[in-house]
């Protein structure tokens, strides 16, 4: 187990990359660090690898500080975002390098190079120099060089970020299977929600050097701690609508500029709201959890279609309601026009409640 304890990292005088974060990497887990560009994701990996020293705080392995252990003695295998390949060596030699350095025999090396290059679809490139490869090919070599050898921890910095969609899809599955096979401890960074949810046993959402929330994909998706996580986890992102809540029997009623939608939160969720005058109260819901209402649906939300997005298998209408815009998905073959007024129906499990961007209640997910 690796632990970052109150790790703070400042570059130069003023640029703070990490703000006293606590993070645990459990043995044999696949941990995804998910955040926007500039959040501090690479810094976390570099600190775990020992390449970067924290400004303050501690890094521990199984409870013992490893701050003074240099990178070459940490047994971390790293794939860098900028590849860092050996330009004078062929692809095959780049892949074999970490194995030779560990004194493995020729036959064993050949077998591993063949297996890993096959998985990554670079078997036909083994004799080439990195300089002649495309960015996507180089990235796969960098990933291969990291995962080809046994390591105490694998640190993969956006290792599929430069691949096209088809390859990313394929290699994501291979990586997940490989990590399972090896029972490997992996820390993987990404800016893609889909990748984070698909790969992570746990996901830590990093934003401006702070961990907004760390948990299982299910926790982050169904019980986001705040509006940032809610809008950041899930593809497409969650929609938010400003509301005025009040008690209505055993439920909450939400007054909005688009009507009084019936949502599924129990009435006692009102009591979880703090008494803070001027608070911004919002409900949040996902485009696939609500639907366009039929004539029989009661208590719907009305608004005007501003934009229609085609995702191929499904379409999304962006519906303007007051100052907000919310999204609702609808079948690709359904006709809908810009400017049309539509009603949105809320199934029982569709709503999250936020006060000043802090989550205060969640409807129970269907599962």
């Amino acid at each position: 187990m690796y632990e970052l304890k109150a790790v703070h990292k400042r570059y130069g005088l003023s640029k703070v990359a990490l703000r006293k974060i606590d993070l645990v990497v459990r043995d044999r887990e696949f941990l995804v660090i998910y955040g926007p560009a500039g959040a501090g994701k690479s810094t976390v990996l570099n600190i775990l690898a020992g390449i970067t020293r924290p400004t303050s705080g501690d890094v521990r392995r199984d409870g013992v500080s490893i701050l003074r252990i240099p990178p070459e003695r940490r047994d971390a295998a790293m794939a860098f975002e900028n590849y860092a390949l050996y330009s004078h060596l062929s692809v095959g030699e780049n892949l074999a390098f970490p194995l030779r350095a560990r004194g493995l025999g020729g036959a064993e090396i050949d077998a591993r190079v063949k297996r890993i290059s096959g998985i990554l679809g670079i078997g036909h490139l083994l004799d080439r120099r990195p300089g002649l490869l495309s960015g996507g090919q180089r990235q796969r070599v960098a990933l291969g060089r990291a995962i080809i050898r046994p390591a105490d921890i694998y640190l993969l910095d956006e290792p599929v970020g430069h691949l096209d969609a088809k390859l990313r899809h394929k290699i994501r599955a291979e990586l997940k299977a490989l990590a399972e096979d090896l029972s490997a401890t992996v820390v993987f960074t990404t800016t893609s929600s889909r990748e984070a949810l698909a790969l992570g046993d746990r996901v830590a959402v990093l934003n401006q050097g702070r961990i907004e929330q760390a948990g299982t994909p299910e926790e982050l998706y169904h019980r986001p701690a705040n509006a940032f996580v809610a809008s950041f986890v899930g593809d497409p992102p969650m929609s938010f609508l400003s509301v005025t809540p009040s008690r209505d029997g055993d439920r909450i009623a939400f007054a909005t500029p688009g009507g009084m939608p019936v949502a599924a939160l129990p009435a006692n969720a009102v009591e979880t709201l703090r008494d803070e005058p001027g608070s911004k109260i919002q409900i949040g819901f996902r485009s696939n959890e609500v639907r366009l209402a039929g004539p029989d649906d009661a208590g719907t939300l009305r608004g005007r279609v501003d934009v229609i997005e085609n995702l191929g298998y499904v379409k999304i209408a962006l519906v303007g309601i007051g100052d907000d815009q919310v999204s609702v998905s609808f079948p690709a073959d359904q006709r809908l026009s810009i400017g049309e007024t539509v009603a949105i129906a809320f199934p029982r499990d569709a709503v999250h409640l936020f006060q000043n961007a802090r989550a205060v209640a969640h409807a129970a997910p269907r599962l």
């Binding site: 560009a37 500039g38 997940k176 949810l197 698909a198 790969l199 992102p237 085609n310 995702l311 191929g312």
Partner: protein, 364 residues
């Protein structure tokens, strides 16, 4: 506003032919995405429209007038590049204002337009900074703002929203789309990302190997791809392909794959005639399910299940092929489990395998 027409457009760099004599029409106010992998000729095509690249053969017409000899700055075409080259010594504000100053627009109007676009693109807090401290996503937004602030008659956007995280991508995409709806610019959006192309464009021009493979609405390129390349390039998760043989079946046709036989619906009869022994069947992950009902069920072995929360992606090995299936979040088969996979024949597509080979060779 402007319409654009290309006639037998060719671009050669020495002996290398980047664009192979393509023809297209883009209507005034239309939003067209040029979609394809790197090296397909999409950027060369766009740069010829902008006047940044000479035209080797053929012609480009802007509003019906031949534009081959018109200089770039006289075309009233604005561009935002993938490599958002910002001026390093001046502030973000001045970077955005730059095209307006060179167009001799009055100072107060410049200020109004710069602040307006900065607000829409969430750049207001950065206006006084210089470019060197920006993240790549921020620099990209500045590049886009600088292109948009001119209100030109044609917008050319070259991979304007790569390198962004999921949330920002949606935000930028929606912003660009609303911009188009509001002002009705003619927009050409060059991208390798099929999701951006489908979400944004009125029509998508899919390119590969310097040729247009299909130019049609997003619905059409998704549901009725003209060849195996388009089928494979459009759609997330990617479409599943499997080798098949097509045989006469009474008056109709049947496809055989992975030891199973499926009578083809009439819709596919014409494709079947072209395919013969060397066919490629394709089916989208949304039209496969785990279950044993329906006319065609194959046995597969589960490789990996990805739980995306709103849906599960199940990777299943059937014979030599690895299929992706989109399933409800409650369907969670485990590794190596043997499962029945049902194919919805209404959504099966059929292509000649030779065609797909050609595209694979190109990709390798």
């Amino acid at each position: 506003m402007a319409s654009i027409r290309a006639e037998n457009l060719v671009k050669r760099y020495g002996a290398f032919r980047a664009v192979h004599g393509i023809n297209f029409d883009i209507a005034d106010g239309e939003f067209v995405a040029i979609l394809g992998p790197s090296g397909c000729g999409k950027s060369s095509t766009m740069r010829m429209i902008a006047g940044l690249e000479s035209i080797t053969e053929g012609a480009i017409y802007i509003d019906g007038k031949r534009a081959n000899e018109t200089r770039a700055r006289d075309r009233n075409v604005a561009m935002s590049f993938e490599s958002y080259a910002l001026y390093p010594t001046i502030t973000i504000y001045e970077n955005i204002a730059f095209p307006l100053r060179s167009a001799a627009i009055e100072g107060r109007e410049i200020d109004r337009r710069v602040r307006d676009i900065a607000e829409k693109m969430e750049l207001t807090s950065l206006l006084d900074l210089k470019p060197h401290g920006l993240s790549s996503g921020q620099a990209q937004r500045v590049g886009l703002a600088r292109a948009l602030v001119r209100k030109p008659s044609v917008f050319l956007l070259d991979e304007p929203i790569s390198h962004l995280d999921t949330r920002q991508r949606y935000r930028m995409r929606r912003f660009i789309k609303s911009l188009h709806q509001e002002f009705n610019y003619t927009m050409i959006y060059v991208t390798h990302d099929q999701e951006e192309a489908l979400a944004l464009a009125d029509r998508v021009m899919v390119m590969s190997d310097g040729e247009i493979q299909q130019m049609a609405t997003p619905d059409e390129v998704y549901a009725r791809p003209r060849n195996a390349f388009v089928a494979g390039f459009v759609g997330e998760p990617p479409i599943n392909f499997v080798d098949c043989r097509v045989r006469r079946d009474g008056a109709g046709w049947a496809a055989e794959f992975e030891g199973q036989r499926l009578v083809l619906p009439e819709r596919l009869h014409r494709a079947a005639e072209r395919v013969g022994d060397d066919g490629l069947a394709a089916i989208r992950p949304h039209f496969l399910s785990i279950g044993s009902s329906g006319p065609m069920v194959l046995q597969g072995r589960v490789f990996v299940t990805e739980e995306l929360q709103d849906q599960n992606l199940i990777f299943v090995d059937i014979g030599e092929s690895r299929f992706t299936i989109v399933a409800h979040p409650s369907v969670k088969p485990v590794r190596d489990e043997v499962v029945p996979v049902a194919i919805d024949p209404d959504h099966l597509l059929l292509f000649p395998r030779s065609e797909a080979k050609k595209f694979e060779d190109l990709a390798a």
